[in-house]
Amino acid sequence: MTDTRVDALSTGAAAELATATGQGGSPGALGPPRPVIQIVPLKGLPVVAVVLGFLVASIGFNWQWGIDFNHVAGGGLWTGIDLFVGLVVGPILGRMSIPARAEFSARFMPKMVLIMPTLVAMTLASGYQLALDLGNLKASSPNHSWLIVSFIVVGVMAVVALGLLEPANIAVLFEMRKPRPNGEVIAKLMKRFIYTAGITGLMQVATLVIMTRVASQ
């Protein structure tokens, strides 16, 4: 996300945003109908339940392949999506028109509400089990200090994601559901993405370094 995006979304953008989401003006001038914004896509909940069930079963029954799968697949997707969204999708979005951004965000952000917490749960729960099973958490292990650093990295990401990003995501979705979304409010909330994208990106790169280091010792 770039500063351009936020600046463009600030003062005076409310009307354009309302038009983008199909509100205000004459119906003939609105273009495509406003997408119905569902904050949590209900169709995705069964998938999340299956994934979490698989995670619990893998841990509960000490299923080594399941634990490995959850950690590698979850961690790879979490890191990949974070970096892809921050470094590729964000800058592209910043150069799109406000109506296009609004429509993209309305369809994209609800999916992220389900996808990211699920990937985080898969990665962390299985990763902790894996570290215990492999003895990497023992103070005598050469990987011990790397894992402590990884805990700190995850802790920073958790505070940023749960304290700043997720509340802003959901507040933006609620704002976009209003008959006339307030561009100033959306711009203010979106600024959090800019402030935190750098931190999250740095943490994800650190995670890649730590995990490859742990795996090679």
Binding site: V40, L52, L55, V56, I59, G60, P117, A121, A125, Y128, Q129, L132, L137, K138, A139, I148, F151, I152, V154, G155, A158, V159, L162, G163, L164, E166, P167, A168, I170, A171, F174, E175, K178, N182, E184, V185, K188, L189
Partner: protein, 145 residues
């Protein structure tokens, strides 16, 4: 005394609300630090003084937050409770998952009690941050800006 500012000047772009989300994030950070501290000792039994202090500080911040929240006027309470109950459900499940993992890994006694207290705070604090952030921007005063 209300912590909100209903008398904000017309045209002010930012209605003033109590810093509930900021304090909630600080409380969350304390829990995370305590959790990382305890996890760093696994599989050994961790010293509990620091985690207990961190959990107590976090709980104190949560209490202050609830008091400030109760004194806030103009919040979109319907949205607050709507978002709050679903996020609470979500984070109770997440906390239960974490608790399950630790119990399964033979965490017992005092460390389990401290960990459970931290998870309870976590499960209450994050929904509070999310629902408050949504509700403050859904308030009538926010609409008026």
């Amino acid at each position: 005394m209300s912590l909100s500012n209903p008398a904000a000047p017309p045209g002010a772009s930012e209605p003033r609300f109590a810093p509930v989300a900021a304090l909630g994030t600080a409380a969350l950070a304390l829990i995370v630090v305590g959790g990382v501290y305890m996890a760093s000792y696994a599989p050994r039994r961790p010293p509990l003084t620091a985690p207990i202090c961190l959990a107590a500080a976090s709980a104190a911040l949560c209490v202050v937050n609830v008091v400030m929240l109760m004194r806030t006027r103009g919040l979109a309470w319907d949205k607050f409770f709507l978002v709050g109950r679903w996020t609470l459900l979500s984070y109770v499940i997440a906390s239960g998952l974490i608790e399950f993992a630790f119990v399964k890994d033979h965490t017992r006694g005092a460390p389990l009690v401290v960990l459970t207290a931290m998870l309870v705070l976590f499960a209450l604090d994050v929904p509070l941050i999310i629902s408050y952030t949504v509700a403050r921007y859904q308030s009538a005063r926010s609409d008026a800006t």
